[in-house]
Symmetry: C2
Subunit: 211 residues, 2 copies
DNA sequence: CCCTTAATGGGACTCCCGTTCCGTTAGGAT
DNA sequence: ATCCTAACGGAACGGGAGTCCCATTAAGGG
């Protein structure tokens, strides 16, 4: 029988020699992808256009990522690395408001807001991008949940309150507002989201249910 | 100067003779679009494929709608027409829970859930689809807001509570959960959303701020 | 029932996205 | 410094989405 000399696991490009040029190409392409997403949204994403912006060969982009969703998934992985440390105000109300305003400012910012809408779209179109998006939000929630735990320990909230659930409750109305209404995301809506989450938490709405 | 005999406002097809065949074509195409959205999502939407499913000429679909986003916008307008009447349980908690469970069942349903994700994506890709989506949710919220107003009149909630805001607060965590986590949307999450919204409303988080 | 023309449908054409082929460049190990 | 080959980049190719043209069908008014 003939030995197969070809294709000894081509694997994915960029994994064997991840340094030097490969890393530069990845950085340039991810930055270009971000720009393109902000300008045209996910549906208008064109890998050829991204290659030009990044001053990289079209073939390279198609070979390394292959699809717009895979590229966005990689971008999300990159975004998840650079999570801002949360500020700590000392009080639950202050912490939740700080979180709400951070989310609000992010979504209201022309560049960041467009980017987030785009990655959400990508996640709804592809399982891998969806997993990357979930990972991103898991990180974000984990970053902020401790401020709720601290409030529980201070006795401000019921003992078995689910911190992650409270943090998610702060973001949810802001995302929902962005997606389903035309009203601008202002500070008032952020403060309202924080206030509502705190009130519900105090009332015990986010206590852990027996699984 | 020569008179222009051509193109005396071609206008949009389907507006001059909306009956008979035109209506049948629209219905068939919208149903086909719904099926296609459920199967492949918005990003996989192909007008040629829809034409085949609807047993309609490709040219017709391209001429009448022109783009996938415009087609989805029309589908959303159609969906907004058929809004279910809300049930009235008599108590605020019961009404909010009924609403939450309706949303939860809709989003958890394989067909309806996929459809909603798809139209949200379309709305994030195109201004007209976005306006159609906003109109859809405006109708939905208006349908349910009265149960909050009734609770206010019964003295269950602060007098200047914004009913629409409470209704949106019920839906928000369910949509947020669907988009950013992999956890299934179960009845427990629906009940928690309703409970949280009620607690926040009682605490006055949704009182109208001076604009 | 007949006439006008709005609306549809098939087929050919164009353009651009994604792929393939192969020569060139530069990591990284020795 | 030298070699091996992973990774890149240019160019040509193929296929499918969207457009155009014109013949055919059937609303809807008289």
């Amino acid at each position: 029988m003939a030995v197969e000399p070809s294709t000894p696991e081509p694997s994915t490009p960029g994994t064997v020699r991840p340094g030097g040029r490969t890393a530069r190409v990845r950085a340039a392409v991810l930055r270009a992808a971000e720009d393109a997403l902000v300008e045209h949204g996910f549906s208008g994403l064109d890998l050829g256009d991204i290659a030009q912006r990044a001053e990289v060969g079209r073939t390279t982009v198609y070979r390394r990522w292959g699809s717009t969703t895979a590229l966005v998934a990689d971008l999300l992985a990159d975004m998840a690395e650079q999570s801002l440390p949360r500020t700590d105000s000392g009080s639950l109300a202050g912490d939740l408001r700080a979180n709400a305003r951070l989310v609000q400012r992010t979504l209201a910012d022309p560049r960041q807001g467009a980017l987030f809408r785009a990655v959400i779209v990508a996640a709804t179109c592809d399982p891998d991008a969806a997993e990357a998006l979930r990972h991103f939000y898991r990180r974000r929630v984990e970053e902020w949940a401790p401020c709720v735990t601290a409030a529980v320990e201070r006795g401000e909230l019921p003992p078995d309150t689910d911190g992650s659930e409270v943090v998610r409750a702060v973001s949810a109305p802001l995302y929902y507002r962005m997606l389903t209404t035309a009203e601008p995301l202002d500070e008032a809506s952020a403060d309202r989201a924080a206030e509502a989450a705190e009130a519900a938490a105090r009332a015990g709405a986010y206590r852990r249910r027996d699984a």
